[in-house]
C-alpha cells in the first residue's frame, strides 16, 4: 500500500514523513523520525509512556494516527532542554531522584509540562491528577510529585510551543 506523506512540527522543527495509513504517531516518531523519547508500553492507553503534546495538550501517541497529525505541533521530552540547559522539570527530576529505570520519565515530564504550562502553581492534588494516566513501577510516585511541585514557579520555565499558541 502506498505511503502517505505527513508534515508536522516536531519540537519546534518542521518534519515530514511517509507513513502507512494506519500507522501510529508513536511508530512514526520512533521508527520514522528517530525520536526515541516516547516509548511503547501498552498500546492501549493504560500506561502513558508514549505521551506527547499535540498542540500543547497531552495525547497518547500509540493511539493516535500519524495521518491525523498533519500540521500539528508535536512535542516530546526530547525537545524540553534548550541545548545544555535543562528545563526546570528535568532539573528537579534529577534533584529528587524522580526516575529509577527511567522508562516512564519522558511521559511523566510531558504531562507535567502540560500541567505547568496551564497552571504554574499547582496543588499537590492537581499534580497527582495530572500524572494519573502515567504508570511508574519503580519510584512509588512520591519523588515525581515532589519534583513537579519543586519545579512549579521556578525561574527559567519554558512553555511548550503548543502551550504558547493554545
Amino acid at each position: 500500500m502506498a505511503k502517505i506523506p505527513v508534515q508536522f512540527r516536531l519540537n519546534g522543527s518542521d518534519r515530514a514523513a511517509f507513513v502507512d495509513a494506519p500507522e501510529t504517531l508513536l511508530n512514526t516518531l520512533r521508527r520514522g523520525l528517530g525520536d526515541f523519547a516516547p516509548k511503547y508500553g501498552c498500546g492501549q492507553g493504560a500506561c502513558g509512556v508514549c505521551t506527547v503534546l499535540i498542540d500543547g495538550e497531552p495525547h497518547l501517541s500509540c493511539l493516535t494516527l500519524s495521518v491525523a497529525c498533519e500540521g500539528k505541533r508535536i512535542e516530546t521530552a526530547s525537545g524540553m532542554a534548550d541545548g545544555p540547559d535543562l528545563h526546570p522539570l528535568q532539573a528537579q527530576f534529577m534533584e529528587h531522584f524522580a526516575a529509577q529505570c527511567g522508562f516512564c520519565t519522558p511521559g511523566m515530564l510531558t504531562v507535567a509540562r502540560a500541567l505547568l504550562d496551564r497552571n504554574p502553581n499547582p496543588t499537590r492534588d492537581e499534580v497527582i491528577e495530572a500524572i494519573s494516566g502515567n504508570i511508574c513501577r519503580c519510584t512509588g510516585y512520591e519523588p515525581i510529585v515532589a519534583a513537579i511541585l519543586a519545579a512549579a514557579g521556578s525561574p527559567g520555565m519554558r512553555r511548550s510551543e503548543g502551550g504558547r499558541h493554545a
Partner: protein, 273 residues
C-alpha cells in the same frame, strides 16, 4: 491491510458505515487503536470524521447536545457542563481525556464506559444516523440494550436536558487505585426535588451488568419520598435489582454486589467515600 478514510461530513461517514461492514468509525482511538495495536483489527477501513459538527457542544440552553466526537477534555473545559465534570474526570488520565469521546464511551465494554452511566441518569437520547439522511433519536437505555446487535449505523450525538438544579445530579466512580483506576462500579443519580419530595428519580450503574443499567428498584424506592434515612435504607435494600455484575481483574461479582449498596447509601446521604 487497514485503510484510513477522512470524512468531511457526518453524512459521508454514515453512508460508508451503512455500505461497508468492515468500516469502523475512529473516535478518540482509545478503543479502536487498541484493537489495531494488538492485531485484532487487521482488515477494513478506519473512518476519521473531520466534520466540525462531530465535535460541537451546544450547552447554552436547557437542551444540551454533545457531538459524538466531543472529548472528555472538551467537556471539562466547558463551564456550562460543570455538572458533568465529575463524570468526565473519571475517564482515564489527562491524555486519555483529550482523546476519549462521548460517542466512543457508549461502546466501551464493562467495566469501562463510566460517562455513559451519567448520560443514562440524565435520560439521554442517542442520535443515530443510518445511511445518508437525517439522524434518529433513540433512548440511551434502548441503544445500550441493542448495542451488540445493532446494524450498521453512525452515532452522531447525544442529547439530554440540563438538570434544573445541578446540585441534584450526583456521580461516583469507585475504584481501587487512587486517584485513578478502572471501575469497581460507578453510580450516577439524578434526584430532582419538588416540595421536599423526589420526582422523576433516575439512578444508573456502571460495571454492574454487561452494559450500564438503570437501577429501577432504587428509582421506585425513592420516587415521591423525601431524601431521609428511611428512604436511603429502602434504596439500599433495592440496590441490587437487575444487577448482573461480572467477575474480572478489578473485582469479583461477589465483591461488586457487596459494596454497591454501601456506596449507593453514601452517595444518597452525601457522605464521602
Amino acid at each position: 491491510m487497514l485503510d484510513v478514510r477522512h470524512c468531511a461530513t457526518l453524512a459521508e461517514a454514515a453512508g460508508i458505515v451503512s455500505g461497508d461492514r468492515q468500516a469502523v468509525l475512529l473516535g478518540g482511538g482509545t478503543l479502536v487503536m487498541r484493537d489495531v495495536n494488538e492485531g485484532r483489527l487487521t482488515e477494513g477501513t478506519l473512518l476519521r470524521v473531520t466534520d466540525p459538527v462531530f465535535r460541537r457542544i451546544e450547552a447554552g440552553g436547557g437542551r444540551i447536545e454533545l457531538g459524538a466526537g466531543v472529548t472528555m477534555g472538551m467537556i471539562l473545559a466547558n463551564r456550562d457542563l460543570a455538572f458533568l465534570h465529575a463524570a468526565a474526570r473519571a475517564i482515564g488520565g489527562p491524555a486519555v481525556r483529550n482523546m476519549a469521546s462521548v460517542g466512543g464511551n457508549l461502546f466501551a465494554a464493562s467495566p469501562y464506559g463510566d460517562f455513559t452511566v451519567a448520560l443514562l441518569a440524565l435520560d439521554a437520547q442517542v442520535v443515530v444516523q443510518a445511511g445518508f439522511g437525517s439522524g434518529r433519536a433513540v433512548p440511551l437505555e434502548e441503544f445500550l440494550a441493542a448495542r451488540e446487535r445493532s446494524g450498521p449505523a453512525l452515532v452522531t450525538a447525544v442529547q439530554f436536558s440540563r438538570p434544573s438544579n445541578p446540585g441534584e445530579f450526583h456521580f461516583r466512580k469507585i475504584s481501587r487505585v487512587r486517584p485513578k483506576g478502572i471501575s469497581v462500579l460507578s453510580i450516577a443519580a439524578h434526584l430532582p426535588q419538588s416540595g421536599g419530595r423526589m420526582a422523576q428519580v433516575r439512578v444508573a450503574y456502571g460495571a454492574m451488568a454487561p452494559t450500564p443499567i438503570r437501577a429501577r428498584g432504587v428509582e421506585r424506592a425513592l420516587e415521591g419520598k423525601s431524601l431521609d434515612a428511611g428512604a436511603i435504607q429502602m434504596a439500599k435494600q433495592a440496590a441490587l435489582e437487575g444487577c448482573r455484575p461480572a467477575t474480572d481483574a478489578i473485582a469479583s461479582e461477589w465483591y461488586r454486589r457487596e459494596v454497591l449498596p454501601v456506596h449507593l447509601g453514601r452517595l444518597l446521604a452525601g457522605d464521602g467515600r
